[in-house]
Amino acid sequence: MSSSNGVMMTVLGTPIPPTNAPPVPAATAKRPMRRKAYGKRRVNWFPLLLLTPLLVIMVIFFVVPLSRSVVISFFHFSGPGTFDSSQLTIQNYKDFLSSPFYLGILRRTFMMSLIVTILCVAIGYPVSYYMMQLSGRKQQIYMFCYLAPWLINVVVKAFGWTLILSPAGYINTILLNLGIIQTPLHLMYNDFSMIVGLTQGEMVFAVMPILASLVSMDPELRSAAADLGASRVKTFMRITLPLSLPGIVAGSVFVFTMSMAAYTTPALLGGVKVRVMSYIAYQQNTSTLNFPFGSAVSVILVIFTIVVVQVYMRAMASGKRKVIFR
């Protein structure tokens, strides 16, 4: 499970310091005798030193606020912008878990992320497979094309989708002019536009790990399979697909986690009717000013995501497939 743990760490954005980092020659040379004589475990501070700036930023802007949210989620709401910290309660969680409205939003967020993940992998896999066969230079150009949307602000991207999907947008204009439809289709401010926007935005995070797993595969394996009588389809199903599973798992974990936490795209493309967890957390914290409940929503979102991702990764790397993930 070492590789899947690695994925998890990256997902949470917490880099783990390498445990078997190479020793620093200068430091080793100073006390070679003592080390040999007592076999004492020496802490190598140098890698840690390099990690310090990032660790400080992570602690101040990630660990502290998140821990604070966890704590506040157990406080009582005592009016907009205030809370009662005198005693702990699980009322906020009870409120959430007993409300069909909020559970519906969790379900919607999950379903949306699931669909986006499936679409990203299903569309991204053939793209990766095609890119794998290209030369290094062409591969870079293609990768840039898929990365390019990330150079554009997510708000601008959402506006771009408005131009395409809105009742007066390109799609509706073309279909109306061709006489295929009489009234504009409702393509904006619903699940559809949200899923389209997220899929387009997050596709590259499925493509990159899948491509990496395909490229690292020995091409002779496909040759060997063909030589042993396997058709192209069988070679793909028996050799290429199973061996690219780590890439698929990594890619789907990236996309799923990002979709669960997505805020801007659902807010701009989902409109007022379609709400997701991150939007509820934002609304509770900034409009309703119910910090304890807003915190509880955030914590539920984080825990739910971690559980789903862990169950998924364990299921994928189980049984005979274990060997692929080693």
């Binding site: 020995d218 002779e220 394996l221 040759s223 060997a224 399979a225 063909a226 030589d227 042993l228 009588g229 396997a230 058709s231 069988k234 028996r238 050799i239 199973p242 061996l243 497939r321 060997v323 692929i324 080693r326």
Partner: protein, 360 residues
């Protein structure tokens, strides 16, 4: 002739890898292709297995043209240089892969795989994964995986080059034994001439996309047809001369004023007076003596270098400005010479082979 290549040519983006190659392989024979890297030997193997298609020429298997047959429909199996075992499949599943692809009934697969594992002497490893095996074991599994589908032609693409020297020598004997036991027609590609000598019925020596010579190991070593073959398959002393006398079965060529070499020929009319010839004699065929014996080829020289190598002694002797390398086995009572000694360098007329010297 079981497999026949007729005028095969192949080029890659302007690089002529193989030019008008033709040869045939008999049933049950182990045929080696040797040559330096880039000589086209691997290309030929890939043309036969179907990973490449030739620009020109035909590949005939049992009278059938398979030049453009798809890879998975050819009765050939390739053993890869880097083994190419499927890392996510156990040894059993690796070997069974080809059987499953050929839709062998499920109940027959197990005994066939067991039989293959016995053949490569790894009966207990079916549950293991390739990463748990040593390099030699992996290559044996790769061999079993190829053999189990009962291919008509077994193709081996430098299967031993990733292994260490000791293992290589053991495995080449083992592969040869298995090949003979199964009786499978095999083509073996290597850049190591000793490997080819140890394993092959016949050898083809290739150089820059052309076949230089095809023959048994003995023929290739003793009677090389070209300068390239002579130097590629072993150490050699080569001198240029002009034929000045032709007799029945023997001829003489003048190399320098004092060096006139006697050599054998086949009376096939190729040897004529005034013909420029290149004469070749292997270092181990030359003897060194203190006083001249009535030998046909006996020349006085000066020892320039004597190196003791244990099982043999390596000499370099200068004769009229020509340096001859000589390897003497370390016999019980060896005559040792040292630098500066005057010695007679001798060999028989049958120790010498010749080929006409193409003007270069």
């Amino acid at each position: 002739m079981e497999l026949e290549l007729r005028g095969i040519s192949k080029s890659f983006a302007g690089f002529q890898a193989v030019t008008a190659i033709s040869f045939g392989i008999e049933k049950g024979e182990l045929f080696s292709m040797v040559g330096p890297s880039g000589c086209g030997k691997t290309t030929i193997l890939r043309l036969i297995s179907g990973f490449l298609t030739p620009d020109e020429g035909q590949i005939i298997l049992d009278g059938q043209d398979i030049t453009f047959a798809p890879i998975n429909k050819r009765p050939t199996a390739l053993v890869f240089q880097n083994y190419a075992l499927f890392p996510h499949l156990s040894v059993f599943d690796n070997i069974a892969f080809g059987l499953r692809m050929h839709t062998v009934p499920r109940r027959d697969i197990k005994p066939l795989v067991k039989e293959a594992l016995d053949l490569i002497r790894l009966p207990e490893s079916e549950e293991k994964y390739p990463s748990q095996l040593s390099g030699g074991q992996q290559q044996r599994v790769a061999l079993a995986r190829a053999l189990v589908i009962r291919p008509q032609i077994l193709l081996l693409d430098e299967p031993l080059s990733n292994l260490d020297a000791k293992l290589r020598e053991n495995l080449r004997i083992e592969i040869r034994q298995i090949q003979k036991k199964v009786g499978i027609t095999s083509i073996f590609v290597t850049h190591d001439i000793s490997e080819a000598f140890a394993m092959s019925d016949r050898i083809a020596v290739l150089n820059s996309g052309l076949i230089e010579q095809v023959g048994s190991p003995v023929t290739i070593y003793e009677s090389p047809h070209t300068e390239f073959v002579a130097s590629f398959v072993g150490k050699s002393n080569q001198v240029l001369g002009v034929v000045d006398s032709v007799g029945d079965g023997v001829a003489w060529a003048r190399v320098t004023n004092s060096m006139r070499i006697c050599f054998r020929h086949d009376n096939d009319g190729r040897i004529k007076e005034q013909l420029k010839v290149r004469l070749m004699v292997r270092p181990e065929r030359i003897s060194l003596v203190k006083s001249s014996t009535p030998n046909v080829n006996s020349f006085l020289g000066v020892v320039k270098l004597a190196v003791y190598l244990g099982s043999e002694v390596h000499y370099e002797v200068d004769i009229d400005g020509y340096t001859f390398i000589i390897e003497r086995q370390n016999h019980k009572n060896p005559l040792h010479f040292s630098q500066g000694d005057r010695v007679f360098v001798e060999w028989g007329d049958d120790d010498c082979s010749w080929y006409s010297h193409t003007s270069d």
